[in-house]
């Protein structure tokens, strides 16, 4: 059995409910138990006080804005020299879907004479990660991934492999999704007509838009202030003695729940270990054990 082991160096969140990690942590503390209602929605109201970031975000799409702000939150007060040997993994379900639609519109009008290069460039999923790499000056591997069986756990597995390869010392894992009216409409029709459960993200009450960023490093490099993550590769069915957050496979929602588990397993307060379980559409689960370093067995 392979167990992915990671240390969380820092983390950040940007959603409408949670403008940053501090807001999510406060919400978790206020519930003083297992947080079960963390659905996020369009992030358009949170403010930043970083004029450089605000300037960089002008003209970029909402998905870029979510990802950048979650990154900024994760990197706040941290030594950015660590980005010299960092990789970026960004997972999104729909990517910049609105740009794809805008490009198709431009292509289908006037016999394609005015197909929009701007929208074509921005329709490419990987532009979100590339914009972030440019702004945050990340020169390591920059992988754009999409929804697989376990969208949160698969990114953590890949991060563990990248760190084990020693090509990098830190991995920024980011999950980002944007609101897209057209995608919602297309998928609502798909769900209705085809009974496709994987599209139910757009018919569920708990749709999630925004971004979560985790800065991860090797387990053995953890300091006492870090939270540790451990993921066995086997299906667990969620059995655990620790409080457990269960989440189906909607990437950004899942990542917010993982962030909540990290907030709950607080190394400073020494709060209890947490578990995060991700379940795929077929009901198979994987579990992430979230433990403060100081409570972790040697």
């Amino acid at each position: 059995m392979t167990v992915s082991k990671l240390a969380v160096y820092s983390w950040g969140v940007y959603t409408d409910q949670f403008a940053n990690a501090a807001a999510l942590t406060a919400a978790v503390k206020a519930q003083s138990g297992v947080p079960v209602s963390l659905n996020c929605a369009v992030a358009d109201s949170a403010q930043t006080t970083d004029p450089d970031l605000d300037s960089a975000l002008q003209g970029l799409d909402s998905i870029n804005q979510y990802a950048f702000r979650a990154f900024q939150d994760a990197l706040a007060g941290r030594d950015r020299a660590m980005l010299n040997r960092a990789a970026l993994l960004l997972l999104s379900t729909w990517g910049p879907m609105d740009n794809t639609i805008s490009f198709l519109d431009s292509m289908l009008e006037a016999q394609g004479r005015y197909a929009s290069p701007r929208h074509f460039t921005r329709s490419v999923y990987s532009t979100v990660a590339s914009h972030a790499a440019i702004y945050f000056n990340i020169h390591g591997p920059c992988e754009t991934l999409t929804h697989g069986q376990w969208p949160v756990c698969s990114v953590l597995d890949r991060a563990a492999d990248l760190l084990a390869s020693r090509r990098v010392d830190h991995v920024i894992a980011c999950w980002a999704d944007q609101s897209s009216k057209i995608a919602e409409d297309l998928c609502r029709r798909g769900v209705t007509a085809l009974h496709r459960p994987e599209f139910s993200r757009f018919t569920s009450d708990q749709t999630g838009y925004g971004a979560v960023a985790l800065v991860l490093k090797r387990h053995q490099d953890a300091t006492p202030s870090d939270v540790l993550l451990e993921l066995p590769d086997t299906n667990t069915g969620g059995a655990s003695a620790s409080p457990t957050l269960n989440i189906h496979s909607f990437p950004t929602d899942g990542a917010v729940h993982l962030a909540a588990a990290i907030a709950a397993a607080n190394p400073v307060s020494g709060k209890s270990p947490m578990c995060f379980t991700e379940t795929d559409p077929r009901g198979q689960s994987r579990i992430v054990h979230v433990t403060p370093k100081q409570r972790h067995p040697p």
Binding site: A115, V124, S126, T127, T144, T146, H147, S165, R167
Partner: protein, 419 residues
């Protein structure tokens, strides 16, 4: 020559490939190694202004026998291409089409860029006219993960899954990730590669950027007008050296090094000095435990755009300086077209086949090499014993990958395996 392998090589025990040159690895290699010109205008739906553009299209796809026409016709073309190449990869490595519980769990690492866009754009055309009347079956394959999902279900892959969307380096990254997963012990065997189908969005999109050559690309040529849009799929069957030995299978080659870097420079333009691409090559050579003088062949990304070719040539010149000289270089994009999410895997397969056959594939399309690029281009297919090869890929957003291959297991690893 060999400075000692730093990482465990991964055995390649099977290859599946479908390109404009043919519907199998053998047919594709025959066309690529002979420099056959197969470009022609696409017969798919396109605005009138784009109908004369020559593309590299796969023809006469053969439906796998286990997929009834009813299902086959509902798949996106991207999925169909992936089914054909995956079947061949499994078969050539001695694995059954459908895995059973006693087989080792096989991982699946795939890349694409457009996935089911060929169907989705038809759906969207109908949707614009009358949303309620649009055939929703056409958007079933819209999401990129449908490729991974189909392959996993069809072949009963029980190992890890990974779906990469990093455009032109996506399938190189998928292969790199599969190698890492095998080394980490997540699986002993993995299918890794990429798949991409022609669609209006790809042709029209690159044309809107004024990057498409109407008559075919000319990589590293003084008068290079742009890319040739292509389609295809390649899958490699990767396994640990121990697994291949235990199964009694002779690998067709080994992946000995991989690296990826990002320019962090511009969203569409590569960094002109090629520094990050050069760094990827150096790191891949280091992982392989090879010195720069021990590389026998380089399959360049060579899209035939002005900026890509200048940057790539600069990167190669930076690594393979005057002391070692640059090994023979060719871009095979004129022969296969630029297949975006599948390009890294198709070119990885070409490198392994070049090592196997001892043939350098030609840099087709170039008649007047650009002195600014100054590369030792392979002008025509050349027979030459080859031990090692390097494949480079560059992508949108400044993503770069480099992968190193060897024909034989490096001596250090051979001794280790024998012990």
């Amino acid at each position: 020559m060999n400075s000692g392998a730093h990482i465990k090589p991964i055995a390649v025990t099977g290859i599946g490939m479908i390109t404009a040159q043919g519907n199998s690895t053998a047919e594709s290699w025959r066309g690529i190694s002979s420099g056959a010109d197969v470009l022609k205008p696409w017969d798919g739906p396109l605005p009138a202004a784009l109908r004369q553009i020559k593309v590299a299209a796969c023809t006469n796809l053969i439906r796998p026998v286990d997929l009834p026409p009813r299902l086959w016709n509902k798949l996106s073309r991207t999925q169909q291409l992936a089914c054909i190449s995956t079947d061949e990869a499994l078969q050539s490595a001695g694995f059954p089409r459908r895995q059973i519980a006693t087989n080792p769990p096989i991982g699946c690492f795939v890349a694409t860029t457009v996935c089911g866009m060929d169907l989705s754009e038809r759906y969207y055309q109908q949707y614009r006219l009358n949303a309620d009347a649009a055939d929703v079956n056409l958007m079933r394959r819209m999401q990129p993960y449908e490729v991974l999902s189909l392959l996993s279900r069809r072949h009963r892959f029980a190992g890890p899954g990974y779906m990469n969307l990093t455009t032109c380096v996506g399938s190189a990254m998928a292969i790199g990730a599969a190698c890492d997963a095998i080394r980490a012990g997540r699986c002993e065997v993995a299918v890794a590669g990429g798949t991409e189908a022609l669609c209006q969005l790809l042709i029209s999109g690159f044309n809107s950027l004024r990057l498409v050559s109407p008559d075919g690309c000319r990589p590293f040529d003084r008068n290079r007008p742009g890319i040739t849009v292509g389609e295809g799929s390649a899958m490699l069957l990767l396994e640990s050296v121990d697994s291949a030995r235990q199964r009694g299978v002779q690998p067709v080659g080994y992946i000995t090094g991989f690296s990826a870097t990002c320019d962090a420079y511009h969203i569409t333009k590569p960094e002109p000095n090629g520094a990050a691409a050069a760094q990827a090559i150096r790191q891949a050579l280091q992982e392989a435990g090879l010195t720069k003088s021990s590389i026998n062949y380089i399959n360049a990304h060579g899209t035939g755009t002005h900026d890509n070719d200048i940057t790539e040539a600069a990167a190669l010149a930076m690594v393979f300086d005057s002391s070692s000289g640059i090994p023979p270089v060719s871009s095979t994009k004129r022969l296969t077209g630029h297949t975006f999410g599948a390009a890294g895997a198709i070119e990885a397969a070409i490198c392994i086949l070049a090592l196997q056959h001892g043939v350098l594939p030609p840099n087709a399309g170039s008649v007047d090499p650009d002195p600014q690029c100054a590369l030792p281009l392979v002008r025509s297919a050349t027979a030459k014993p080859l031990a090692t090869a390097l494949s480079c890929n560059l992508a949108f957003g400044g993503n770069n990958t480099a992968m190193v291959f060897s024909r034989e297991l490096p001596a250090d690893n051979q001794r280790e395996a024998d012990a």
